[in-house]
Symmetry: C2
Subunit: 952 residues, 2 copies
């Protein structure tokens, strides 16, 4: 009783993929994103070919014997939806499950039954006649069957109103006189979710007592036609299946119908069914399906527990025959130019000519320049502008405040706004990667603080000194551009990126907390014995302008009381009031401000926690998804507003943001142009080269690490990077901002990623339960440009900004730091240190690298981070940029500690090492256990963006 | 090419269940919980019979042709664990998936191969000889094969140390000279997880080039014997399977081996394999397995994504043949006495005699009395005592504080402690349901507050008046006991319980927030213009004891400054210091205490959020599970400690808990016995009957709703309830506490449920991935008794308790309220109002009741709650108990609005209605769609405890 193994020779699958469009991978600059490219992709996802999408509906015959009626009980596109009878609604889409016997029964019924391929019927009536004509039925039975099949089925059409309704206007009435779809069917909101050209498949199943033996029919229509009210959505039907029979088999017709519907919803089977020329082809397709089904043993999974659609469906490419699969395997991991994942992309290939990279960058980007503006014509760009604008000014405000403190006002909020606007606008117009957002960054701030304290210690004129540093940095960077040094970014692995990102985030967190704590020192809490009460208001001598005092305040309650109390020439007015009236506040308690410290702490925590909570709203179930997205995208803005509101409500004199009231430099007495020497000796302009060298390294690292992260293959950028051009722009802007005495700017990872995230193109989720797939980023220059122009205009926002309390901004800073650090993979590994092995998540990494090796790698990263932090905090901080560069060296040294496989999983390959590995024919995973080979493909699948925080 | 449908006639499954023990369902009082009952249940869960547990291991032959070795690559008990080759560790347990072809290949190999049932081999050597003797092999091949089979396999033994190791001391060495298990095998920690008597099954599979054709063998050993180092754990092996063959079939031997292991891990197949008498039986069992497998269509589920073990596995009873299933279906829903789920239990059947119910209760409980102490001898009870003790004193402190305020000190913290101890101890000794914890409750507090303000308004002597109310309540309750009124609790459906629970929780939340806000009024925040500064210290007249002033403080800094400032006879000393030195603080600002309000708010929020966060630690991945459980169980204690620590660190004069310093009534001048009349007129003792009537209703509702919740079938209590006896005890304690002037006590839901939760008996999770199943509660009197005795001793804790700030207690109160309200199903339905239909969780309720009806039910409940709240807050609050009773009436009226099915899903049946339903033959779910019948069983499965909060 050996079961037949369905032979593969009967059915050649490979031709199923001949129609896959490959245009997207090598679309040239001229083509641009076509508006229908997304639906193309959807179709390919669903059907593996250009076949139209198939909507399948199961109508069941119920009520035997008294009140026969057809009722829709399930529908399928990719996943199964089932009618919840009691609740009168559709279930959530779920992965369908089947029992083997029903598939086997279906197979035998198909084999014995009627198979009509390319049936020329033009209407339901014709179809029904054809189906019943061929079946071996008595004329009487045939008539009964025909009228039954023409009976209008009841659909559950879920309209947008609260209560869905069963639509069947005239039950039991044959509808061949009224074969047009009903109004409800045409207005079915499901229709909008299905792409143009979608076809329907109807499966009719049920128990019919008057039949002597089971009746099975599989019909493929030659030309799809709308079969009246047969399907819930009036789509042209391509397939029509019928399974009726006596009640001996019990419930099995329902399950057989489901099995047929699930079969039809399988892209592979669908492809074959569309092309089958006889019954054998159809059965072979069913056998091929059977061979690939996944079996769960009974009793290990509750079949009533519905399996939610998986987040990541297996690629249909896996179902290709092996040679085809081999050929295609590299595809998903290939970057936009079709290169294998680890080979350097052409942007990073050395030309060997001076400024060769820059020239190439300019050439490459020039061809895209017009499309950089045309591609922005999409409503999504509008919301991106609003979001990134708010993020940018928040950043400008906070960094402005920090810079103002760090440089004693040499730069302030006004300079921060102005510089951001000028530098950002220029960068967006000229840069190679216009999705990048320029900003002040933590490391540059640290460096500037060092530079300022150095020049203060040696009584140097800061801005002229800084000008020379800027000139030198620009020169060095120009030299780096000329020598195409940017190709070295190939050595920036995840290890380097993560170390850098973690450091930046920690600086954010540390600064926020230490600023907050310094507030509690500035406004001490009034503990027992604190001089809260020791303050009174002393008037001028009686001989002075006492008459004026007496004249102005005869009704003053406080003064009257003071007199009662026996105070002479003094009252208990609060200090500001006292000063306003010409008195002098006297006493140790006059300068204390109670409640400010705790209120600041409260505002700090509130804005931090509120922003964190709002960010998580996106993944909650509550509220419509649109509203959740807005709440989470604007989390930091809303948190700032809440903080300001709370502060205004209590009305305490918390420290507020200092903003200039007029458009002039924050430092009194300086102009917009920095004089080249000031009071500094002339040789300082030469000596500035030394700090400039360090700063150049820092700028290079900071700029290029961000650029590497932004240009990762998983973001599927099509217009290419511009590492050389970007560095060139940064160098020129460095010069400009130094001359104007504005802050220095480089690319900022966090906001740039948020920018890209807000410009994601995703496929419209067609099938219920299907999650939208990522198609790419709307690459253009306009959003950034508008953001920075708006930032420039915001300089005149001063009257509003002065109401923002500083603790709220510190809270947002903390939020940004925490959000950034928790999104890097390094932190996931740090968390692993705390999770017992038993409860660790099933990461692919942990399947392939021993836990102790993972922990060792994490520990080394932690040690590097600790060392960087210590260097940053000591007087040796000036060598900090060199230490950053040292990260690359440490990573290189790790190759002595970890095996190439381990590094491949923990980090990524360094360029040369890898070629040697390929030469050696070393497979990334040396697996001996059969099913491990599956993981191989997973590893090469594009990873989800690693840092995908939506943070302002 | 029709596939064979495996015939059921060849294999009678029903006999598989003949050994299922049914003893537990009707265990009498004498039997008690036997120590091994849990392992019995485990076995039954796993094997459906008393067959021993089977541990299955797959050893694969790797390294062909150069370096052949056996290596363990997978193991199974219930779920699959797989060796992560790269990481050198075991994967997490997951639901195994199979491909149909490998099962079919296995079937054909079995059919052609060697099947040895009841093989008498006593050692691996003998076994190997038997297996190879029967195969048609040349002598040379046989020798090669024998030595290969005797080669020591490599096991991955994961010891508790960090790095697991491959254990194979002497690779390639035949071990028939050393067949004893290795030390590592004996120390394998997995062994402790497997129950006594477990057996092993070894599956050996792999590619062996020198074989001409595939070799399959299935051996069942007559007497299980430890086959040396064959399996990772040295268990006696029952099964031995071998699948070897030439490499033409590629990877399939691995998959065939997996298929065999998965088959063996299926309880149904295992049962058959143990009893099969020939090959046909074995193949029939395989076909029966195939018939029940669950099929997932390819491409809808990624087979490399491992499916975690489901929380709730389907009952194996479902796989019984239909008649047997029908007979057993009721079982899970039956309560402890084998009655159908909705029929009243005997405790709630009216005897018709005066005190008949009470007598029955006493009789029933008396037989359990000795076991009520003996059953407590388990270490779990110790931690339960600690947990519930802390919860009880927290509650006593908070309610004591609230009662003290509500009654102007007539009751206070000391009375609260004393009363809790006395009443609790007495109740635990006498009550029918000793798991109940007595406490002051919200509704009684509300009533007491009303009573106090009434007697204050009419200048009554409160305690004597209260004594008479207590006497009357006791009388009424006694009458209720006599008339067996407790049988009416059958009408308390979820609707009533939820309304009541929600109200209690809201009272908690409201009280906490309003107390906190009243603190900010008592200690106003110092806004601009607030009189923070208006205070100075005035000395007595110069003519008075000025000399004393000057003499005592020549070095006083403040005074010197005052003189400098020109103040005469005044200084700026803080008020307490000023008063201490004989001066008078003067001015409007002397009585303000800055920073207190905000610090209180901070403490309030901190303790609330910290307790909430700690509660959720239980479900996090971090830390070992033991530590998480401790952190979450003691969340409120830890939050209180944190709050106290924070407060002590800042050292501000926040309001602290007022505790008596000596053992005497809080109210000065009252004794421990309340005089029966005091200054009240004599007729007041009669008039007290009116409020007593209302209070009696309240007590009855409060007590019995808690009792109903505690006695729900899902908790599987075995010793029965004691509704009448409990009410009798409460009445007697009412009398006692009234006489002593102590607070009134009834059962409190939240702590009682926490008590039960801490006494859960769960099966030890034997198989990896299996979650422990709930077996029942350790029903005894000792834990409660010890808790209340400890509470009594805690009266002397006063020196410690006076450091607890009030805002921290308010925060814990808020936490208790929020935790309680968020755990009731009603709140889940309220949340549904905010969730768009698309994102709603897949609740069974929503599968069967239209959403609009669910929302209507929720809205009615919300309206009732709103009405109750309004009544509680208005002067009409005195009729509040009647309103509570009205909830039952509203529920009754709902039967006019909702259909019986809807009410069955939304609430539960009222007793009479239900019998009529059964008479009418109305099925709870009138389903016409086939697969809906599955839900039916789900509905009757015991629900998870609805309120299972672990809150203090």
């Amino acid at each position: 009783t050996k079961m037949k193994l369905p032979g593969q020779e009967e059915f050649d699958v490979s031709s199923a993929y001949e129609n896959v469009p490959t245009g997207e991978l090598d679309s040239g600059p001229g083509s641009g994103p076509s508006p229908d490219s997304s639906s193309d992709t959807d179709n390919r996802e669903l059907g593996l070919s250009n076949d139209p999408l198939l909507f399948i509906q199961l109508n069941e015959l119920l009520g035997w014997p008294q009140a026969l009626e057809w009722r829709e009980t399930g529908r399928w596109v990719l996943f199964e939806e089932k009618v919840e009878v009691g609740a009168g609604r559709w279930s959530a889409p779920h992965v369908p499950t089947l029992a083997l016997p029903s598939l086997q029964e279906l197979r035998s019924l198909l084999a014995e039954g009627l198979v009509l391929l390319d049936c020329p019927a033009q209407s339901l009536l014709e179809l029904v006649e054809q189906v019943t004509r061929l079946a071996s039925l008595s004329p009487e039975l045939r008539g009964q069957l025909q009228s039954l099949l023409l009976q209008r089925p009841q659909h559950l059409i879920q309209t947008t109103s609260t209560r869905p309704c069963w639509r069947s206007a005239h039950p039991r009435e044959a509808f061949h006189d009224e074969e047009a779809p009903l109004k409800e069917q045409r207005q079915n909101p499901l229709r909008q979710k299905l792409p143009e050209g979608a076809e329907a498949g109807a499966v009719l199943a049920g128990e019919l007592g008057f039949l002597a033996q089971p009746l099975g029919a599989f019909v493929r229509l030659q030309d799809p036609v709308v079969l009246g009210p047969l399907t819930e959505v009036p789509l042209p039907s391509r397939f029509f299946c019928l399974f009726l029979g006596p009640s001996t088999l019990g419930r099995s017709y329902h399950e057989m119908g489901r099995a047929m519907a699930i079969l039809l919803s399988d892209p592979q089977f669908q492809w074959s069914a569309r092309r089958a020329s006889n019954l054998q082809d159809l059965l072979a397709a069913l056998d091929a399906f059977l061979e690939e089904v996944i079996l769960l043993p009974p009793g290990r999974w509750d079949p009533t527990a519905r399996m939610p659609p998986p987040k990541c469906r297996p690629s249909q490419h896996k179902r290709l025959p092996s040679q085809t699969r081999e050929a295609r395997r590299g595809a998903p991991a290939e970057d936009r130019h079709g290169h294998p994942p680890h080979a350097p992309s052409p942007e990073l290939q050395r030309t060997g000519r001076l400024f060769g990279g820059l020239v190439q960058d300019v050439r490459r980007k020039a061809s895209w320049y017009p499309s950089d503006f045309l591609d922005a014509l999409h409503p999504q760009c509008f919301s991106a502008v609003l979001y990134i604008y708010l993020a940018t000014i928040t950043n400008a405000i906070t960094f402005g405040g920090l810079l103002g403190e760090a440089t004693d006002g040499a730069q302030g909020v006004l300079e921060s706004f102005l510089g951001t606007a000028v530098a950002g606008t220029a960068f967006c117009l000229m840069a190679g990667q216009p999705l990048t957002i320029l900003s002040s960054t933590g490391p540059v701030l640290v460096f500037e603080r060092l530079l300022f304290s150095f020049s203060r210690d040696y009584s140097l004129d800061y801005l002229p000194f800084r000008l020379w540093v800027g000139i030198w940095v620009a020169t060095f960077c120009l030299a780096l551009v000329a020598t195409e040094a940017s190709v070295l970014v190939r050595y920036f692995t995840h290890f380097t990126e993560e170390g850098f990102c973690a450091l930046i985030s920690l600086i954010f967190i540390y600064d926020a907390v230490s600023k907050m704590l310094s507030l509690t020192r500035a406004y001490p809490i009034q503990g027992p014995g604190s001089p809260a009460y020791g303050c009174f208001c002393q008037y001028p001598d009686p001989g002075g302008n006492e008459s004026q005092w007496i004249r102005t305040k005869p009704k003053d309650r406080d003064d009257i009381m003071s007199t009662d109390l026996g105070l002479v020439n003094a009252s208990l007015l609060p200090p500001p009031e006292c000063a306003r009236r010409g008195g002098h506040p006297r006493g140790p308690g006059c300068h204390t401000a109670p409640d400010i410290a705790l209120l600041s702490l409260l505002l700090f925590l509130t804005s931090f926690l509120f922003a964190m909570a709002l960010k998580h709203v996106k993944t909650s179930r509550f509220f419509p998804s649109m509203m959740r997205k807005v709440l989470s995208d604007f989390s930091s803005v809303l948190a700032i507003l809440l903080g300001c509101g709370l502060d205004a409500f209590l009305g305490l004199a918390t420290p507020k943001l200092t903003v200039p009231r007029e458009f002039k430099p924050t430092l009194p007495g300086r102009g917009w142009l920095v004089s080249p020497f000031g009071t500094n000796p002339w040789w300082l302009s030469v000596a500035a080269a030394l700090p400039a060298l360090l700063l150049s390294i820092l700028i290079f690292m900071d700029q290029q690490i961000t650029a590497v992260i932004l240009n990762r293959a998983e973001y599927r950028l099509r217009k290419g990077a511009g590492f050389h051009l970007d560095l060139f722009c940064v160098a020129m802007l460095m010069l400009l901002t130094s001359v104007l005495g504005l802050p220095w700017y480089v690319s900022t990872t966090v906001i740039s990623l948020a920018h890209m995230d807000s410009l994601r193109r995703e496929s419209r989720a067609c099938a219920p339960g299907e999650s939208p797939s990522f198609l790419g980023i709307r690459e253009q220059r306009l959003t950034g440009l508008v953001v920075f122009i708006l930032t420039g205009i915001s300089i005149f926002l001063a009257p509003v900004l002065k109401f923002v309390p500083m603790p709220v901004l510190y809270g947002i800073f903390l939020y940004m730091g925490v959000a950034a650090i928790s999104s890097i993979q390094f932190m996931k590994r740090v968390q692993l240190l705390l999770i017992p092995a038993k409860h660790q998540p099933d990461l692919l990494l942990l399947r392939h690298v021993p836990l102790s090796r993972v922990h060792l790698f994490t520990a080394i990263q932690l040690a590097c981070l600790g060392l960087l932090w210590i260097v940053k905090s000591t007087p040796a901080a000036i060598i900090f940029p060199i230490m950053l560069l040292g990260l690359v060296g440490v990573r290189k040294a790790l190759e002595w500690v970890f095996s190439p496989q381990e590094l491949l999983w923990l980090d990524e390959m360094m360029p040369e090492k890898e070629t040697s590995m390929h030469e050696k024919g070393l497979e990334p995973e040396y697996s001996f256990s059969g099913s491990d080979s599956k993981d191989l493909e997973l590893m090469y699948q594009p990873k989800a963006p690693e840092i995908n925080i939506s943070v302002n």
